[in-house]
Amino acid sequence: MSAVTRAGPAETAGPARALSHRRPLGDRAFQVIALSAGLLVLVILVLIAVTTSQQATSWFSAEGFKIFTNNWNPAANQFGALAFIFGTAITAVIAVILAVPVSVGIALLLTEVVPRRWAQPIVYVVDLLAVVPSVVWGLWGILVFAPWLQGIYTHIASGVTGIPVLENLFGQPTSGESFFTAGLILAFMITPIVTSLSREVIATVPAIDKEGAYALGATRLEVITGAVWPHSQGGIIGAVLLGLGRAMGETIAVALVIGSSPAITSHLFAPGYNMPAVIANQFGEAAGVFRAALIGMGVLLFAFTIIINLLARGIVARNARRMRGA
């Protein structure tokens, strides 16, 4: 449907009509090429689901629902993945709990407090966190950060002995490599994305709402809680979910600092394991059902992150539509 056809007078006789009927071949070919490039996204997503599930079938059929048991012993052909699912959830949740307040704080700082010419340098600095590759976070984590954290963990653990709940959470540190270390490094890594998404959401709050609140004599905090927050709530929840999805799939940094021992425990300072880390660390020596189990955990990871992403994007999109309507 090029604009040319519609622009031409409808009743013209002769060559103009012949020209208007069919678009040149090159034009249609270009459209087809562009469309297939777009469709590639859908094709790849479907292929990921199909091919990885295929490679994992021997795990699913050999173990059935036992894949969700806490029984991982490759030497004895037992491949229950519950400890890894637990580790994935716990590290991602730690990361989100630590990263979200900081990210939303920075987003508010950028949009509501600092003047525009200061905002850009702050954004650059926060984005630098995302430029540091995962493996460099891991290298620093295992050689510098974890040994340093070990002393702090020991201090905290001796401080909480005897206090009921805290003792179960923060007691018994064995080394610096633990669920908490992994969660902490994940928090650094997801802060830029949560910050930039929250900032985008907060930036859509109509200026007139904020100005109205200021005109009533509200302080900045009152403007944020009264005018900014109600508008951006939904979008920020979406941003948090996307951060959670990122934290769940992040591999190499976690593989190096999580401690590599499958465990279901309430002790956050104890070494653990999660799905991406076990895939990365053990894939090289795996064969048969073992390899199928690792690929199967990849399938689970894919499913979890897709669900979280669909949910988050849905929330963000709905929120954006509502804001435009308002």
Partner: protein, 296 residues
């Protein structure tokens, strides 16, 4: 007073002093959250530069990877540098044209059609697929049949880059004013010609800058390479067949070595990797700052 009661969050009857104090505390907390972010960033960058700078040098960047237990000074990370450059370049050649074409479909042809909306939405979702899943995917679909190679690694990186390039290019195409398109149509140009000779050139700086950022991100990825290129220590000039190596894979294997020499080479490789990412990022900023015609 009626207005004040309609805004329950703003209780103007509170003492003014306390309201101001709360406000100050909140502002301080926001500044603090930025400081909290600078600390780990400074810590990690300082460590990498301090430990990496002593390792790095021309011969370090070009010579062979030695045995893990050999001390710093013998050998270097040459194969990893060449592997990273080759694999990333190959991935870029695959992902960027396809990504730009996809964005052209979304923006120039798709418009508001359900299919275009679906593709745009799924591209967003695809950016959230963990990089290790991309590695497993290429392992299942390619490596099992054709073996480990730099090409397989490039496929995995390209899969990661594709949705990012689509999204950033789409944003840039949206910024091109419609009057440019209409002007060209009025001269009788076809849609393909308008897109190729008017819209794309107008959006090019933004597209290039977005692509550079995607490349910078991909160059640092390890997880998708683990199961696609394997990690070897010898140089493999043929990207299309045989196991290869890369900077991130080399750092990953050196990080767990007990030998100081291997760790030092890991730091040197980390500094090299960060330097590559920074150069790409700065290039992207320069392109944005100097050549962008339309921006938000």
């Amino acid at each position: 007073m009626a207005i004040a009661t309609e805004q329950p969050a703003v209780d103007l009857r509170e003492p003014a002093g306390w309201r101001r104090t709360k406000n100050r505390i909140a502002t301080a907390a926001m500044v603090l959250s930025f400081v909290v972010v600078i600390i780990p960033l400074g810590f990690v960058l300082y460590t990498v530069i301090a430990k990496g700078a002593s390792a790095i040098g021309w011969s370090f960047l070009t010579s062979q990877i030695p045995e893990n237990l050999s001390p710093l000074g013998t050998g270097g990370i040459g194969p990893a540098v060449s592997g990273t450059l080759e694999i990333t370049a190959l991935a870029t050649v695959m992902a960027v044209p396809l990504g730009v074409l996809g964005a052209i479909y979304l923006n120039e042809y798709g418009g508001n059609r359900p299919l275009a909306r679906l593709i745009g939405f799924m591209a967003d979702v695809m950016t959230g697929v963990p990089s290790i899943v991309m590695g497993l995917f290429i392992f299942s679909i390619w490596v099992l049949h054709f073996g480990f190679s730099g090409l397989a690694g490039a496929f995995a990186l390209a899969c990661l880059m594709l949705p990012v390039v689509i999204r950033s290019s789409d944003e840039m195409l949206k910024l091109v004013p419609n009057s440019l398109r209409e002007g060209s149509y009025a001269l009788g140009a076809t849609k393909a010609r308008v897109t190729a000779t008017v819209v794309l050139p107008a959006a090019l700086p933004g597209i290039v800058s977005g692509a550079l950022l995607a490349v910078a991100r991909a160059a640092g990825e390890t997880a998708p390479l683990l199961f696609t290129i394997l990690t070897v220590t010898s140089v493999n000039a043929n990207v299309f067949s045989g196991p290869n190596t890369s900077l991130p894979s080399q750092i990953f294997s050196n990080a767990t070595q007990p030998y100081p020499g291997a760790q030092a080479r890991g730091w040197g490789a980390a500094l090299t990797l960060i330097a590559i990412a920074f150069i790409l990022m700065i290039a992207a900023r320069i392109v944005t700052a100097r050549f962008t015609r339309y921006s938000r």
